[in-house]
């Protein structure tokens, strides 16, 4: 039967177990940092470290924070020649209560020909963009990147106010006015 532990409880020594989520290491012992049910996960066969992993799982909602490597959905708010500023609305498929700020720098927009990028031809204010968190950034915003095929603009409205249809990885077309606008489009297939 799994045991319920309190923060500060000493679980196992570091010599025989590895610390997982919900725990921390202090003076050669693994202590719990959350109140919840503790789990023991056996090590994968064939891996170097044969110690089982101790973790504490909490019942209820997990707090949502963007971490390195997370795929986020954000809405572009400001655009200037060096970067595009966006409000992060969802982390993975979990929505946030209040939006964090992220910026997409010129060198992070795409992987190929990164020096010939023009921000205004890639994003416009109001676009919904799928991006990846590449760095916790400076004091004000996370650094995001769309330098992969499946990252980029997923929803944009044309000048006429109608949702545009993507026609290539660089262009989207308005179905009403037939005008073509340039964006860095995400490949969603």
């Amino acid at each position: 039967m799994a045991a319920v532990v309190c923060p500060g409880d000493r679980l196992h020594p570091v010599a025989t177990h590895r610390a997982g989520s919900g725990t921390y290491v202090h003076q050669q012992h693994i202590h719990a940092s959350l109140v919840g049910v503790s789990h023991l996960q056996p090590p994968e066969p064939g891996s170097d470290d044969q110690r089982p992993v101790v973790s504490v799982a909490r019942s209820g909602a997990q707090p949502v924070l963007p971490q390195l490597g997370d795929l986020v959905t954000c809405k572009v708010t400001k655009v200037n020649p060096r970067l595009a500023s966006a409000d992060i609305l969802c982390v993975g498929n979990r929505p946030l209560d209040a939006s964090f700020t992220g910026i997409i720098r010129l060198q992070d927009v795409r992987a190929t020909e990164a020096d010939k990028v023009e921000i205004y031809s890639s994003f416009r204010p109001g676009d919904l963009v799928r991006a990846e968190v590449v760095s916790l950034g400076d004091s004000r915003s996370y650094f995001l990147s769309t330098a992969r095929n499946e990252l980029g603009v997923v929803y944009a409205k044309s000048a006429a106010g109608v949702q545009m249809v993507p026609i290539s990885w660089q262009e989207m077309q308005c179905p009403q006015s037939k005008l073509v606008e340039k964006r860095k489009v995400a490949k969603t297939a």
């Binding site: 609305l89 929505p95 946030l96 209560d97 209040a98 939006s99």
Partner: protein, 291 residues
């Protein structure tokens, strides 16, 4: 809370069709729970939960000198505080301003003209010695959690707390020559007098969402509402006051009539439910005291 345009459009279309996200109709309240005698140190207290909104009201009776305009009447003093736990995330002094706004709204509902006559509570019953001393009821309300419909919950809790208030019996003994009477308070709770709260009204906030009229909007629905009217209604369906909320959208005069009519129909229904719960609470308390 963040709301997208799609969410707001969804909620408005639901209201137009008479549907709400928790299955209620447009004229239904969330379950209202009232518990009396929450604070043993006060003369009367009540806690009211309407869905996620929770308020706590305490009434303390103090002996003071009456005012010069009304020497034969007691008084009521109201104060509403918004707890930081309520999570309204107002910057700077926003909490205090909201508390002041709620206090004034509740005062307009409960208090009356300066002379005390025609109000919902008989203030002359609070007089001890005319011109010398009277009871003043200090009503303190605390908003613990706000999920829409805060003013309605405050008025319900205030009425319940006033119904729970026990005023100790006072013996007036003629003391010395200059006529200053000595007051002796009887501490026995079974000898205490109760207030007559039959005429105290309750506040019903009627809001307009799209083309539909609705009561008891939670925080999400409140963000999509247009005009809002706060109407004070008593048990017989008579109007005791109506105020348009300070930040509400403008109102068409014909909708005004409809909103007042709706409040007049729904107010007595809410008051009957409240009286039933107060009666249940009082019966349970008297059984407990006899044991």
């Amino acid at each position: 809370m963040l709301h997208s345009k799609a969410e707001r459009a969804y909620l408005q279309q639901g209201f137009d069709a008479g549907l709400r996200s928790d299955g209620r109709g447009c004229h239904d309240w969330r379950p209202v729970e009232v518990a009396l005698a929450q604070l043993p140190q006060a003369s009367g207290s009540a806690r009211c939960c309407v869905g996620g909104t929770e308020v706590l009201v305490s009434v303390k009776a103090e002996v003071r000198t009456p005012t010069e305009e009304a020497p034969g009447c007691g008084g009521i003093q109201l104060a509403v505080e918004v707890s930081p736990c309520a999570g309204l995330r107002l910057q700077g002094r926003g909490d205090e301003e909201l508390g002041a706004e709620l206090t004034r709204a509740l005062e307009r509902c409960l208090l009356s003209q300066a002379n005390g006559a025609g109000g919902c509570l008989d203030l002359s019953a609070l007089c001890i010695v005319a011109g010398k001393s009277c009871w003043v009821l200090c009503v303190d309300a605390l908003v613990l959690s706000a999920d829409g419909c805060v003013l309605d919950a405050l008025s319900i809790a205030a009425k319940a707390a006033l119904a729970d208030t026990r005023i100790p019996l006072v013996e007036v003994t003629q003391a010395d020559e200059d006529g200053d009477a000595e007051l002796e308070l009887d501490d026995d709770p079974t000898h205490a007098a109760r207030l007559d709260t039959a005429r105290v009204p309750v506040l019903v906030t009627v809001s307009q969402v799209g083309a539909a009229l609705a009561v008891d909007l939670n925080a999400e629905e409140g963000a999509c509402a247009g005009a809002a009217l706060e109407v004070a209604v008593d048990a017989r369906g008579r109007l005791c006051g109506a105020t348009m909320r300070a930040h509400s959208a403008p109102l068409h005069p014909s909708s005004l009539q409809e909103m007042l009519g709706l409040a007049q129909r729904l107010g007595p229904r809410l008051l009957r439910e409240l009286d039933r719960q107060i009666g249940q609470s009082a019966a349970a308390a008297s059984v407990a005291m006899q044991e």
